[in-house]
Amino acid sequence: MLRLPNEIYLQMIGHCITGLPDEACGLLTGPYGSGEIVGCYPTRNAAASARLYEIDPVEILHVDRDAQKRGVDIIGVFHSHTHTDAYPSPTDVAQALDPGWHYVLVSLRDTHPVVRSYSIVDGEITEESVVVLTHAAKAS
């Protein structure tokens, strides 16, 4: 299960819309082994493409250092699909390296953005639920 604060949920969608017509991407941080997202780092799409995304390793390095300072790790990546479903493409699966990461897809194909999350282990895609935490939910 992926649990993320509403602010991060909106930040991801906003970054993806801002990135149009290209795909947009970013990194998510939290305790490794959990689905608790505590940080969102929108990044540039170094591929500058509507079909591909790539995060510049130096941006990954800087996010990793910031996460380390906060006692968490990079535990996921989000990116947009501008004209297709929020489902990992064969390219996404081929390049999904970490079995512990959350691979979040934001589809902008329809009027309303669709956000879904997956684990990808040895090429096998498993969807997980996405829980957006509102202030009321956090207080409970």
């Binding site: 795909e23 991407c25 990194l27 490794y32 591929a47 079909r51 591909l52 995304y53 790539e54 995060i55 390793p57 130096v58 990954i60 390095l61 990793d64 380390q68 790790d73 990079i74 535990i75 990546v77 990116h79 990992p88 493409s89 064969p90 390219t91 996404d92 390049q95 999904a96 390296l97 970490d98 512990g100 990461w101």
Partner: protein, 91 residues
């Protein structure tokens, strides 16, 4: 000399769960060699069979990608921060 290497989450299960390890070497090549000797499970994820750096892995010395320095011949000095990072890309 001893060098601290920061590992991505991907490699930690092969290194006893550690986020960083200290290995010995005067160049990046020696550091990587020492790392995979101590934690053999990391080898296939860092190196190709011909011993070159896997394309899905980036190695940084401080803020510099070793591919743009002298690759495995890049010297490491006391206090340098070596980071191994996964490539993050897709379509």
């Amino acid at each position: 000399m001893p060098v601290e290497v920061r590992l991505p989450t991907l490699l930690r299960s092969q290194a006893g769960g550690q986020a960083s390890v200290v290995v010995s070497g005067d160049t990046i090549g020696e550091v990587i060699e020492a790392l995979v000797a101590e934690y053999p499970g990391t080898a296939s994820q860092i190196l190709n069979q011909d011993g070159t750096l896997h394309k899905f892995v980036n190695v940084y010395v401080n803020d510099d990608d070793v591919r743009y320095l002298s690759a495995f011949d890049t010297p490491v000095q006391d206090g340098d921060e070596v980071s191994i990072l996964p490539a993050v890309a897709g379509g």
